[in-house]
Symmetry: C2
């Protein structure tokens, strides 16, 4: 029985490792670290501030971040991504972690100028957050590589210079709270991702820059930024 169970786990992990191919939804959390909320002049939220990205926003190793047409200020936001293992609807905090199948390291690339315009006009954030290449992701990180998701160091450098250095212990809303809250409104499905927010230090990148990011001892990513031709 133990053998069968571990075989089943192996099959699930093998499928989840291909999450970019079949994921249908990315739910992202804004302002989930107080220092980051402060650096953009935003209040710390009293409930999770949610937006989404479509799967078409994802890119993987070897692909480039393209600055979208008309954008003059694109920012890096390094984040821990949570990969959902099975359908999850209106779960409570106590069982929320049962639906976590693994993790990834991700960049929530943001057209800050488009976002500022949307915020000022009360418009949706689609143009700022959902464009092609706005979600560079690492390969799948299995559960055993992240024994405590609430104590994960995250760093982000631009051209080798450190820009962000944070730890998931500083998240305002932790994983069970996020998964429970999100699943009250949005059914999560196998392969869906939750982007858990970024620590402080976000800033602009330009054509020719290289963004690297990492979780020490676990994962590193590197993506080139190019002006859309």
């Amino acid at each position: 029985l133990i053998l069968l169970d571990s075989l089943l786990q192996e099959i699930i992990m093998t499928k989840l490792a291909r999450f970019t191919e079949f994921s249908r939804k990315i739910v992202a959390v804004g302002r989930n670290y107080s220092e980051h909320a402060a650096e953009l002049g935003n209040a710390v939220p009293t409930k999770p501030l949610l937006f989404m990205k479509p799967p078409s926003a994802m890119i993987t190793a070897g692909q480039q971040i393209e600055i979208p047409l008309g954008c003059v200020e694109i920012h890096h936001e390094i984040e821990l991504g949570v990969i959902i293992s099975k359908q999850c609807k209106r779960v409570d905090k106590d069982s929320a972690m049962d639906y976590v199948g693994g993790y990834c390291l991700a960049l929530d690339m943001t057209a800050r100028d488009f976002q500022n315009e949307a915020k000022a006009k009360g418009h949706p954030w689609a143009m700022a957050k959902m464009f092609d290449t706005s979600l560079p992701v690492s390969p799948f990180i299995p559960l055993q590589s992240v024994p405590d998701p609430h104590n994960v160091s995250l760093w982000c450098k631009v051209n080798g210079e450190t820009r962000q250095m944070g730890n998931t212990k500083d998240m305002i809303f932790n994983l069970p709270t996020l998964i429970s809250f999100i699943s009250q409104y949005f059914t999560l499905e196998e392969g869906d991702m939750i982007l858990t927010g970024t620590p402080s230090g976000v800033g602009p990148v330009k054509h020719g820059d290289v963004i690297t990011g990492g979780i020490p001892g676990v994962m590193e990513i590197s993506f080139d930024v190019v002006q859309r031709s």
Copy 2:
């Protein structure tokens, strides 16, 4: 060769008819009819105002519209949905219609109170537009049933009383303009949907109401509204 081509078309249509099962993105257009923009006190946009819904928002015949937790004002918006037949990236207006595989009739259910709060605070529209059951859709409508997508009558009734009665000829941005604009930022994929906006007459529904909608001679839909239990 003609036989092979029509066989191929048949295969594509058979797959597209199951768009709800594999669609990965719904791109929606706000304020695409001037009378509707005016009724909510919004300016007529100078470029398409875009937001998205995730596939998990879709429901089909027999399923119910559930008012999301905490929402006290949910509105019906009847819309023509466009189903994309193949990958479409940065296309020009002249070739845009080559990527249309068919249509559907859809309700862009909107938590208007959540949306008003989001607009006032400059927050994303996720809670207002992307919740479970916020996108009731009809079965797939093949191309030959809609010879001119820019002359389609749309009606919507609540408990048998007419609320919306419009025609796609009054859209501000037509299909080629929308597809070309959207595809500059968001790669469209097979089965993806474009929601083309709603004519005037939107308004609230409550627990126990029945929303019906139709395209005369082509399609009718009916969905019950229930308070989320």
